[in-house]
Symmetry: C2
Subunit: 223 residues, 2 copies
DNA sequence: TTAAATTTTTAGACTAATCTAAAAATTAAT
DNA sequence: ATTAATTTTTAGATTAGTCTAAAAATTTAA
């Protein structure tokens, strides 16, 4: 048996899951090195180990994909990360831009009993503070269809359901201009030159947004 | 600067704190090896490192004591451990015999902001689920005077305020015989031969307790 | 379709934490 | 006060994770 991944192995598995757009898409050594802030040589070594443990499929020079058991592990880690983020924001009054780093540590705490009790304590939330879906105990995620604000055109509208990225500076900026999850939003104008947008927010009136921001905001038709 | 202890260093510092009865008493290499489930040779190496970092005072063959900064670190870890135990029992409905192992992991999460918010969320408790005092943000502990039940004699009485040890089997047994923190207890008889006792508990009537148990229960005169 | 650029892997080395076996120091017993 | 037992330290290895530098494979461009 000798199961149980090391903290480092968990971080690799999670990074592979998050970089791979589809479960089949191969994740490159360099992409992994970038994401994990380490060197390609280090990644090469580690993917050999993970491959040996059957957590990933690996062909030399071809990148890696997660196996079924690898994906299951990834979802467990992501579930923990997002549940802890929900706890930090909803019960300890952290702001949404302050929780990611702490959750990076908490996601490695090993106790399925703890995760499931935390889930219940939080009321079995389906999304985390950034709008990302929280996998259930079986690793199932249900997320409604959504698209990037930057992909919408004039007169299109919907509800802000998430942000693509948890960079604290982005999140703080969104706070400052009063953009938060759940708001109704309508595109009033798109500037062809730089893809900047004018939008109308429920109550809060009109706002100009650069493409740098619109490409980070997820919109759904309704809840 | 380059502060921040590794998980292993934290465990050594905490063990030294908990083994040393008084802050001055030297802790031996073997005692540390026992407590940390490692080998004396390993301990010898590590105490050299901790000594170099000025967290402990060390003289070859003479054992170690914590420096002021070492003791401060130890109290920070113990504070976290006990706050998390309180969270697990009071909010996630764990039993008092189930939380120690999980707290051993949570105590290493690094974020003073998190600890202090958790403290507030819990209502700034002064004791953990086992009756152990929780140091405040400055490392101050206030614990009333208490003594072991095994040190009491006939007709002495007081309130159960803690257990010396977090062995799940002990804690489960105490649950089974309805002994819990806060109960008033009176010694009715002490058997000279084996130090077993007859005690009277508020409401719950008379109980026989072996020395093995009475030596683990802490009693105070009143809250 | 060769050559250049890029990506990936290998080789060799380092640190933290651990171990076993053996040597040295201390403590306890004759 | 010697000797014996115990404790502690040193010496030498091992494993996980990391690095730099160099070699090999793949991809891109001329
Ligand atoms: Mn996050
Ligand atoms: Mn999130
Ligand atoms: Mn504990
Ligand atoms: Mn405790």
């Amino acid at each position: 048996m000798e199961n149980s991944l090391s903290l480092t192995e968990e971080n690799y598995i999670k990074a592979i899951f998050q970089i791979g757009t589809t479960p089949e898409s191969n994740v490159s050594t360099n992409a992994l090195a970038d994401s994990l802030q380490t060197k390609p040589a280090t990644v090469s070594d580690m993917i050999k180990k993970l491959s040996h443990k059957k957590l990933i499929f690996y062909e030399k020079y071809k990148g890696v994909t997660l196996s079924a058991s690898g994906a299951k592990e990834a979802l467990k880690i992501i579930r923990k990360h997002r549940l802890w983020e929900a706890f930090l924001v909803n019960h300890l009054n952290f702001k949404w831009d302050q929780v990611h780093e702490i959750a990076e540590q908490l996601e490695h705490i090993k106790s399925s009993e703890l995760v499931n009790r935390l889930d219940d304590f939080l009321g079995n939330p389906t999304i985390d503070p950034h709008g990302d879906p929280i996998p259930d105990a079986n690793g199932q995620v249900q997320l409604g269809p959504s698209k990037l604000l930057s992909e919408m055109t004039s007169y299109e509208n919907g509800i802000i359901v998430g942000v693509k990225n948890e960079d604290p500076l982005l999140l703080q900026h969104l706070d400052k201009i009063n953009i938060r999850l759940g708001l109704h939003i309508e595109v009033t104008e798109v500037n062809d030159f730089d893809q900047s947008m004018q939008v109308k927010l429920a109550d809060l009136g009109t706002l100009f947004l650069s493409e740098k921001i619109t490409s980070q905001i997820l919109i759904a038709k309704n809840l």
